[in-house]
Symmetry: C2
Subunit: 401 residues, 2 copies
């Protein structure tokens, strides 16, 4: 008997009809002889509605209470999917994240899974039940509920699949799989049959919304291949965790980027550490970083943050900048990142030249550049992001298999 | 420093504005130097909306999953009230029922509190925090969430007040207090300043919706006086747990009553036990019971159940009736109960005569009668309930203090 872990996102459980469709899909796999663990997200826009409710009460909700609030969305969908399975005559039980043994650190709103105690899950599976787990949440050491951040249900699913040594981990969403670029921007984008963990990680971190980066990372650490596919069709999806022969696999983009520049920093050893350590402590995710060449002992440091983090982090960044003696802080909220991703990149320095050439031909100015072994990312102005993605998709001939 | 336990019902937290009003009220009591524990119900119609969602998926939801579903309503309001307190600059923390140490038995949907572990609550109070507790819920021994049934947040509040030896327990609702009769039916009904536990218990069990009977019972067991008052005004409420000098204190009514008659039961010892024991096991609350005089070894037994329980219990009752050899089962879903309640009743048999006389003058037929030491209840047809309450309010001169 195989153990299958599935995860259904918010659009897959957005109303009663979709919940019933999910239940039928789960029941069919169960009837085919599989043990089933099913992780669900909150229904449709529930999470956004709860966030809105909180913001009508306070501009800066305490993360602890925000997590308690948001965790209810997944509890509701887990209970409803379980009821739909009961209605189909299946044995099923709904578990909250804490009941499913998911322990986290105490970084409310962006918690990381610290451990999974599978005792209850294994007992329910042994009892012949389909187990429906509320995604996105776990319990801290202080026995408070913490959420795993946007897309955290993916992490719940991959974490459970790894811990339970599942035979398959399937992420159901509203897209068919991972594409060479966002099909809304590039109509000729192709669905990939496979993608390596490393490539998917770069794609996810660079804005491809299909999978949560932390979930891909977990899959990589535990070598747990993940299938991404649509809950609306029977099309084969994309298997993450299998290398493919492409040199450049896909184009990722993230249109929600803000750039912050600290001007006139003293160029002394340790200044970067003094800047970024407090930001890390404050759980502000800093991305691409560029430090200019020093002139007369003074330098500029630019970095990017998620646009959504800008408002909450700007004051804090300004205070850190003051402490460091920066002469000013410039924030530009209208930036975007575009990346080429592929395992072939590490051995072919010519790819960078081809990328920059394509951008130049399209008349797009490059503001910052960052690279990893299998990725090259450029920061550009937001208005040009669609042009850039299309130009790169053409330049690397990604419409051809 | 005094410890005050307050409870706010669904109408008191039905929207953002009401939640903010509750927070101001709580903060004022806190600023006056009290330790505060605040129990909240789900916002407005949330619980009904969740029930509706479940019933769109299955006609008979499993109680365990239903409880997980319904418990989210109180989690949401506890988080939001806490955020509103933070916005006022107060230190506050939201706790779920399980986090507040509330343990229950496993009768999902109608669970009873089995124990309260106050460790976390006391720690938060000691830390100077206002503690906002999600009402209506607790944790079973198997670590599942169970709800305490309709009005269960009252029970949470009184249970916590008793366990913490609070100096006051205040139930905030949308009415001013306990009235001599429902003011919507009897315009001249008076608000009572005080009422004894026994009287309130009879009033609550007989349909006065202002307090959950189990909550009154807990108050009585632990001798914890309970103040009922409005969250919409500063009017003094009614203190439950203080005797008053009235002979008849109030008129209660319950218009949601169904009557079930088992016709042609063999009149042998033990038949009542064989009938009611399985109903009790199935958690069907049976009320007023009347057994007719036996003729030729055959008798009829009539009893009442909540109208809402009729549909779910009728099949079960019919199967029990068949087993006992009853010739038929007659269900009448359109009945009502009207009661006079007062500690004076036990010493004044004349009250029964006055009650029946008033009913007769009003042309209302009495179907069944039941009595306790401080209560006389008659079962009548539902259409006559308002007439009956008004006639009795007049007959016992309850409009006069």
């Amino acid at each position: 008997m195989s153990l299958v872990v599935q995860k259904y996102g918010g659009s897959s459980v957005k109303d009663v009809e979709r919940i019933q469709a999910v239940a039928r899909r789960v029941a069919a796999r169960r009837d085919a002889g599989n043990d089933m663990v099913v992780v669900v997200s909150a229904m449709g826009d529930t999470t956004d509605e709860l966030i809105d409710l909180a913001h009508r009460i306070t501009r800066q909700p305490e993360p602890r209470e925000m997590d308690l609030l948001l965790s209810t969305g997944e509890l509701i969908s887990s209970a409803l999917v379980t009821m739909a399975l009961h209605e189909l005559g299946q044995k099923a039980v709904a578990l909250s994240g804490p009941q499913a043994g998911i322990m986290t650190d105490t970084t409310f709103s962006k918690a990381k899974i610290s451990a999974i105690d599978p005792a209850r899950l294994e007992r329910e599976l042994k009892g012949g039940k389909i187990v429906i787990v509320a995604g996105f949440q776990g319990l801290t050491e202080e026995e408070d509920v913490a959420t795993l951040g946007r897309g955290g249900s993916d992490t719940t699913a991959v974490g459970l699949a790894a811990r339970l040594r599942a035979d398959a981990c399937e992420i159901y969403t509203d897209v068919d799989g991972v594409y060479t670029a966002d099909p809304r921007i590039v109509p000729e984008a192709r669905k990939l049959d496979t993608i390596s963990f490393e490539e998917m990680l770069e794609m996810a971190q660079m804005g491809a919304k299909v999978m949560h980066p932390r979930a891909v990372e977990l899959g990589q650490i535990y070598n747990m291949p993940i299938t991404v596919r649509s809950s609306y069709s029977d099309r084969e999806g994309t298997i993450i965790g299998v290398e493919n022969v492409n040199k450049v696999t896909g184009i990722a983009h993230d249109a929600d980027v803000a750039k912050i520049t600290l001007v006139g920093l003293p160029d002394r050893p340790g200044v970067a550490h003094q800047l970024f350590a407090p930001l890390a402590d404050a759980a502000i995710n800093v991305d691409t970083i560029v430090q200019n060449v020093s002139h007369h002992g003074v330098t500029d440091i630019s970095f990017t943050v998620a646009k959504t983090d800008l408002q909450s982090s700007q004051k804090f960044i300004e205070s850190v900048a003051r402490d460091l003696g920066a002469s000013s802080v410039i924030a530009n909220p209208d930036m975007a990142k575009v990346s080429i991703v592929g395992t072939g990149i590490q051995n072919h320095p010519g790819y960078a030249a081809r990328m920059f050439g394509a951008m130049s031909e399209a008349g797009i100015n490059i503001d910052m550049i960052s690279t990893s072994e299998i990725r090259i990312t450029v920061l550009i102005e937001r208005a040009k992001v669609a042009d850039a993605v299309r130009a790169l998709h053409r330049a690397f001939e990604l419409d051809q298999a």
